[in-house]
Amino acid sequence: MATIELAALEKTYPGGVRAVDGLSLTIGDGEFFALLGPSGCGKTTLLRTIAGLEEATGGSLSIGEREVTRLAPGQRDVAMVFQDYALFPHMTVLDNIAYPLRIKRVARAARHEKARQTGDGLELAELMARRPAELSGGQQQRVALARAVVAHPSAFLFDEPLSNLDARLRLSARTFLKRLQRELGVTTIFVTHDQAEALAMADRIAVMEAGRIRQVGTPREVFGRPANTFVANFIGSTPMNLLPATVTDHRLLLAAGSLPAPSGLGARREVTVGIRPEYLDFSATAVPDALSGTVGIVEHLGTSSLVTLETDGGPIGVVVPEEAEPAAGSTGWAVPRPGRVLLYDNETGDLLPT
């Protein structure tokens, strides 16, 4: 158990790609921390640099008060679970789980005992004598976890450990993984490009773009108040509405209507208004302080539907409960919930304080 501290950490690959661009970040003891970002933003590279599999080209890194920037991977006391699980095909499940102990020269009986205990905790008791090829994807994932757990490291590093599972199994594996982490209390960094996964599991999330962190925060903060339009676009299962607007005295003028403006913005200013579809209420009758348009496509999300209002300023998504679903072609109004309208600077894309 340990805090992990990155100070201006940098990784430039020999070809010149700067995959990690001066990151500073502190991950608390026992925290479940998610690294989230689009493909190629440097999540895997950052994780591998923390593990020591890639050598940092700048900055420093410490794990639990210990400066480890120049230490070999084997001396950093971290366990990593790879996307392909990296189970050894010629060893049984038992031997796979016991492998870290074997390297530490724990006697055979003792390490098998320990591996059995760990395996029991991960519902692997029946599978100990099998080879990895004889396991399902979910079982393989649990064996890989057990092998990481048995090593008793100061930190877990997971690189998309759920991405090889089918959608259903993924959900149960999420719960399982979160519970395991809670019980063990080991500091965990978890890489994913699935924002729903990060929101569901993490204590805190770092959203990355091109080797830099765009926002760090709790799932609630990152979802509710994205710090910039990049994060706003990336987070959420339905994309956030980002609409151009002009600020006049106390009003926000949009093509689809006008909304009350928060105070302290100054007059005649161009901004981008961000509202999540989940934070808009639908009305079939005209109401003040709303955006209006014609109901276009209606997508079913299960207990709710995503209604697209075609407006003069482009489409606006609104999530409506299934019983309130409007007919296509009718006119509708979208009313933002109080405090849910976010304003972004047009130039920098950053959230304006309101």
Binding site: G74, M80, F82, Q83, A86, P100, I103
Partner: protein
């Protein structure tokens, strides 16, 4: 039976079987037949070969020159193929993986070149290298007049065969090592395993099949390799006379075709035994 049906399936296989019969089975049987004759290239035994039963075999097995040849072949195969080509091939494959692009290309190219050049060309080059007067090696080592092929005939053909055949092992092991996922090596490294341990625990079990297959192939090839003859002619005093060379000298140079056939057959049996031995090891894999 699914698919073709027996009739058509047989039709497809027949041409191949006919070719095998004509070029493999028939010569083998013919050799078997010759082996029981006293059949010479010239003289009365050429016109009317005499049936001698197992005579040729008992002659061979009691001939000290045959025993010498078997021992030489074993040494030649063991040193140049099993140890030399195998070991060097693996070492090259393992180290070149970490080398920079152009070094890898260069070494790969050179090693492959020694493999694909025609035997006669290669032997000519080696004669220029080893020549007693004005050979390149003597110039390099500053040992004028050293007669390598005469003083160290076995060492000469061993080194020659390692040089000549390492490319195959190198290529095979490169492919085998490529098949070991990086994440497996890295997992071992993360848990604190050193390179040797990782090799033993992670790499070796995975490439065991490749090692056995490679060793089988190069053993058989080296066992039956005739190129040493072109370098040393089997001499001096039979000191580099491996079995194929022995057969050639007995039957073609010495004219004793029947005797040569008998030894060929013994070689065939030895080959079979070697192959069966490796195949058994292979089948036990993972067990």
């Amino acid at each position: 039976m699914a698919g073709l049906g027996t009739g058509r399936a047989v039709l497809f296989v027949v041409p191949a079987l006919a070719l095998i019969a004509a070029f493999l089975v028939f010569p083998a049987l013919w050799t078997l037949y010759l082996g029981v004759l006293k059949y010479d290239l010239a003289g009365s035994n050429a016109a009317a070969p005499q049936f001698v039963g197992l005579g040729n075999y008992t002659d061979a097995l009691t001939d000290p020159r045959f025993a010498n040849s078997v021992l030489l072949t074993l040494a030649f195969v063991g040193l140049s193929a099993v140890l030399g080509q195998n070991g060097l091939g693996f070492l090259l494959a393992a180290t070149l993986r970490r080398a920079v692009g152009w070094v890898r290309m260069l070494v790969n190219g050179l090693v492959l070149l020694s493999w694909i050049l025609p035997g006669t060309v290669v032997v000519f080059l080696w004669q220029a290298l080893l020549d007693r007067n004005g050979g390149t090696l003597n110039a390099l080592l500053d040992t004028p007049g050293a007669a390598w092929t005469l003083d160290h005939p076995l060492a000469t053909i061993v080194v020659f065969n390692i040089w000549r055949g390492t490319a195959f092992s190198m290529l095979l092991y490169s492919a085998a090592l490529d098949a070991v996922p990086t994440s497996h090596l890295e997992t071992a490294r993360l848990y604190g395993s050193g390179p040797l341990r990782t090799f033993r625990d992670v790499v070796l079990p995975r490439i065991r099949g490749h090692i056995l297959t490679n060793t089988l192939l190069i053993t058989l090839w080296t066992f039956n390799d005739f190129t040493p003859y072109m370098l040393t002619g089997g001499g001096p005093e039979h000191r580099s006379e491996t079995l194929p060379v022995y057969v050639y000298r007995m039957s073609i140079e010495g004219g004793q075709l029947g005797f040569g056939s008998a030894i060929s057959l013994i070689m065939l049996v030895i080959n079979l035994v070697i192959a069966l031995f490796y195949l058994r090891l292979l089948r036990r894999r993972g067990g």
